[in-house]
Amino acid sequence: MPRLEPPQRLPRIISSPGSTTFNRTSSWRNLVPRIDLALCTGCLLCWKFCPEACVGLPGPKPEIGMDYCKGCGVCAQECPAECISMDQEAEA
């Protein structure tokens, strides 16, 4: 019904840590970063600069987690070896 009764509990907008992981920001992406691992020196600047913290380090070389990558291109801009390219997202 359209009539709005007051909520029983005092509503507060308080979020617990990690709550932003519910928002899969990969849906924002229209360019996708690809790392040419043959040229990658493992300097970790992409890991350091990624604003979404979605560059993982499973081994000595980085790997980009595509659940949260928005395709912003900061990693490609920062990479001194210029081994990250921003490619068109493939059609589903």
């Binding site: 709005l4 009764e5 007051p6 909520p7 005092l10 509503p11 507060r12 907008i13 308080i14 979020s15 617990s16 840590p17 709550s19």
Partner: protein, 384 residues
């Protein structure tokens, strides 16, 4: 213990007695002495809270938003332009449901520059979600600040305790200052369940969509309504411990009166004196002091007044293009009553004009004799 205090010093004593943990104050006439006194008390060791020196009133309220979010009991004081400058943060604090207590010393708004008492500063903040209490003596300032902490902490709504610039803020009078032990019994330390805590990290104040936003406001409206009964409970407990009772509306010889002066603040005393003089001359005069303005005690007002009465509402503020704030609110509250009192709005005492017994008798007579059109606001001044 009785001390001779001004309204400002009574407010500072109350903040110290309440065990305020963080006070953040920017000086402005006529409220400056509150911060000065707290600073002195801090140096003497009689105020144990932290005093933050800030660069503006906006920052004063912003820092209290942070301190109260961390679970501190918080206090500030301001006036006029300072309160106007805080406006944005007032919404933030009430929306975040934080029990900040602030003293506002009524002073007119510029331009032109003016230092004296006028209620337009506090009344122009009426829609910010703050409780508002209008005091009529320095004793009431002290008592209301103490009660405001308890009321705010129970309702999760901030409180503004309002007193008249100079007429109360700078006038010395005897004030009964309760001892700290009794105050602590009345007002134990505040321990909020959710607060900023590095041991249990959480994010406060993130974005809310329409569905959450309206629910938050709906709950705030409900809590505002409920605040009237909280105010009543706290007043009863205060009376039990300290022997002084405060009601949201204070009628004076009003029950059998045919014309009633309605007024808020320190000039209410002059209204009572005017009523005494009018009664002595054989008139059925009464007065009604509006003490709690937010939440507006509309039910109590309707119960107290009846259709045969005439009301003379004395406003020390004016909403340009409309009428005095109290007049608007009282007319709105009485709209559903039938028959309703004939209510006339009078504007007096803007910019510090003295609201004297003689002036109030004139206002009473104008309303009583029906020489004014209730649809129009009547502007009055004491010519002296």
């Amino acid at each position: 213990m009785k001390k001779v205090l001004t309204g400002n010093y009574a407010a500072a004593e109350a903040a110290a007695l309440a065990g305020v943990q963080v006070a953040s104050i920017y000086p402005i006439t006529p409220a400056t002495q509150i911060g000065e006194r707290l600073s002195e008390m801090s140096a003497e060791g009689s105020f144990g809270g932290r005093l933050i020196r800030v660069e503006s009133e906006h920052s004063a309220m912003a820092s209290l938003l942070g301190a109260a979010s961390a679970g501190a009991r918080t206090f500030t004081a301001t006036s006029s332009q300072g309160l106007a400058y805080m406006h944005e943060m007032l919404h933030w604090v009430s929306g975040a449901r934080l029990p900040v207590v602030m003293v506002d010393v009524n002073r007119a708004l510029a331009a032109p520059w003016n230092l004296w008492s006028d209620q337009s500063d506090s009344l122009s903040q009426r829609d910010t979600g703050w409780l508002q209490f209008y005091c009529a003596s320095s004793q009431e300032v002290l008592d209301t600040v103490l009660m405001a902490f308890k009321i705010s902490e129970k309702t999760f709504l901030p409180s503004m305790v309002v007193l008249d610039g100079f007429t109360l803020s700078h006038t010395y009078e005897p004030v009964d200052v309760p001892d700290e032990k009794a105050v602590r019994e009345f007002l134990p330390p505040w321990r909020p369940e959710s607060r900023l805590d590095t041991g249990a990290p959480a994010a406060f104040g993130s974005l809310a969509g329409a569905k959450d936003y309206i629910r938050l406001r709906r709950r705030m409206a409900y809590d505002m309504e409920q605040a009237l009964s909280v105010i009543d409970d706290v007043a009863k407990e205060f009376e039990r411990l300290f022997g002084r009772r405060y009601e949201p509306l204070a009628p004076y010889r009003a029950w059998d009166a045919d014309t009633v002066l309605v007024i808020a603040g320190a000039a209410a005393g002059a209204a009572e004196a005017a009523v005494d003089e009018l009664r002595r001359d054989g008139h059925r005069a009464g007065s009604l002091r509006l003490r709690v303005f937010r939440p507006f005690p509309a039910d109590a007002l309707r119960r107290m007044l009846h259709g045969g009465m005439r009301l003379a509402v004395v406003d020390r503020s004016f909403s340009q293009g409309s009428e005095g704030t109290f007049s608007q609110e009282i007319k709105a509250a009485l709209y559903s009553s039938s028959p309703k009192p004939v209510t006339t709005g009078f504007v007096a005492g803007l910019g510090g004009g003295d609201i004297t017994v003689d002036l109030l008798k004139e206002i009473w007579a104008e309303a009583h004799n029906g020489t004014v059109n209730p649809a129009e606001t009547v502007w009055m001044e004491d010519a002296r």
